[in-house]
Symmetry: C2
């Protein structure tokens, strides 16, 4: 077998299955990303197993086509998803929906594994925690931390390439402090408190009414309350995350500033809970709140500096690169700085 | 028509329809309560219209029998229920369930009105806000305030016998600060924070695990988290109120003390939002949190004293007496101190 042939034969598929969209990439053993694909929502918790499995197949099919790699050349696949891998708490309705039971014949991870069979991918499919994939999207270091704040929020400690501690990530009802849901709910609560006199007037009122399309009769706070309560209880709770951007938009409003500070403090607390003196690796920040809102990330950086932690802080767009790193690690490839840089650069060119 | 006959003829039915049980009383025009009855859950929001209507009929049927009053002698009926009367926000899932649409043929309040027809009660049925019934359970004064904290929490200002301001009462997702739900959720959050290192150790952990039957492997905080998350997301959110008593039980635990103080502060804020210098009437406290937990009520009393308010503070068991007062007021009876005292004493003898 020539070198060329063996390289051609050893490819992996990495999938980042999220609540909104699914991304897949074909990567070779040197870390080169060769083809990229996208599908719909890939989280079985929020979308159901059938839709999630379809999204995975869509994304992987596109990635294989784009890479011009035949399905039989795929040696393994890694799917990063919420609740994946045993190091994290079991699947929970982080997206706000009821916990779906995997179909008996699909059998959880097995069901995800079968998702690629129609494409001719018979290689083993490994499910990994989305949090770990976010971590490895920022660094190849086997030790470090990730703090992810999107709709939900959680922090992890990584040692020897695996999650050894988790803080929060407990879903909208019981945790996710500082997440998009948490911020969105505080926006709504602040507007309702202003309406009935429990809290100060806030610019968030006008922004929220404009966003929801509820008329703003300045003379009738009770009508505002009634309109908001009717609308918001008709939504799935987790969708309150939709209002989080209003807190960042109202950046001269004391109430909004207080909400963002509260989120930054909660996220800092969550990260702090997993920090240990024994592990001084990089800190990876992910999720829409940390990606798009430098005020929150800056607060986290200040806190880390205050603790004397000098390691790098990386912000990542999603968990796709990390899923590829996990696929390579599982396949026995040493993902050093050079391999990581190659994967990072080649993936960036694809998307 | 003799005096005796006219008194015999002029009776009213008052009903306090709650999420757990329904109470009914037959009252004469002098305020004398003559018969009492009980039924199951009478809140159409949590139990559905059919069950609620059945509970109302049960309670009223018993009350009529106990009073030996024929149905045709009933001149009017008042039903106090969450969301009743236009002065409060419209029906919302304060009990955590989906908002039921009243059956077309029942038509909301009309549906409740029809509930008594099978008993032969053809008198008009008026729906009143449960908060106003709680208020009038404590005082006949036409002006004053009520603060009610059970599963939910709200404050009202009463002027000329009607609700003129409402604070909070916005349900578990958007408000109900300081309520049983709020306290129960803080109990759970505190235990989960202790488990993953975000918060201090607390005696609530042992109490919550005992209450939920989850084994307590002291060496495996993650198993505790997993067990709690699985259980709690399988419950209806509002049922977290079940854990509120743990916060009061752990009265030497700093975390639990902090939760109770937080609830007391939130409830004080809610009451404060409806206070005005123009209305200096009594303050009525109702709901299980205020009824059973003197620490919370004491905090509210201290706050009122600090504001220079010297009016009486009354704690009431439910809204039944107030529903009777509302029935008498609607019928044109002046409910003065003597009538109120007669109703209060005669109702107390019945139950």
């Amino acid at each position: 077998v020539s070198d060329t042939e063996s390289v051609t034969m050893a490819h992996h598929v990495a999938i980042d299955a999220g609540g909104t969209s699914t991304r897949a990439v074909v990567v070779d053993v040197t870390g080169r990303c060769l083809g990229h694909g996208r599908g719909g929502a890939g989280n079985p918790i929020s979308s159901g197993w059938e839709a999630a499995v379809g999204s995975l197949a869509d994304a992987v099919g596109q990635a294989l086509s784009a890479a011009s790699i035949p399905a039989y050349a795929i040696r393994s696949a890694v799917v990063a998803m919420a609740g994946g891998a045993s190091a994290t708490p079991p699947m929970r309705p982080v997206e706000g929906g009821p916990r779906p039971e995997p179909p008996a014949e699909a059998g959880g991870e097995d069901g995800i594994g079968n998702a690629l069979l129609p494409l001719g991918v018979t290689a083993p499919v490994h499910v990994e925690a989305d949090l770990l994939a976010q971590y490895f999207s920022g660094t190849p270091a086997a030790e470090g931390y990730a703090l992810v704040a999107g709709t939900g929020a959680a922090a992890i400690r990584v040692e020897d390439g695996s999650i050894t501690r988790v803080a929060d990530g407990l879903g909208w009802l019981l945790g996710d402090a500082g997440s998009g849901f948490w911020i969105g709910r505080e926006v709504v609560r602040s507007v309702l408190s202003a309406a009935d006199g429990r809290g100060p007037a806030t610019a968030l009122t006008g922004l929220l009414l404009a966003e929801t399309g509820i008329p703003h009769p300045a003379t009738d706070a009770r009508a505002v309350t009634r309109g908001l309560v009717d609308l918001l209880y008709s939504m799935r709770p987790v969708h309150l995350a939709r209002f989080a951007p209003l807190a960042f938009a109202a950046d001269e409003d004391d109430v909004a500033i207080g909400i963002v500070e509260g989120a930054a403090n909660a996220l800092t607390d969550t990260l702090t809970a997993v920090l240990t003196g024994d592990v001084d690796g990089p800190v990876v920040l992910g999720g829409s709140v940390l990606r798009h809102q430098p005020r929150v990330g800056d607060r986290v950086r200040e806190h880390l500096a205050g603790l004397g932690r000098q390691g790098p802080v990386h912000v990542v767009p999603d968990g796709l690169l990390g899923a590829a790193v996990l696929a390579l690690r599982r396949a026995g490839t040493t993902v050093d700085a050079a391999v990581f840089a190659r994967a990072d650069a080649s993936l960036a060119r694809l998307r």
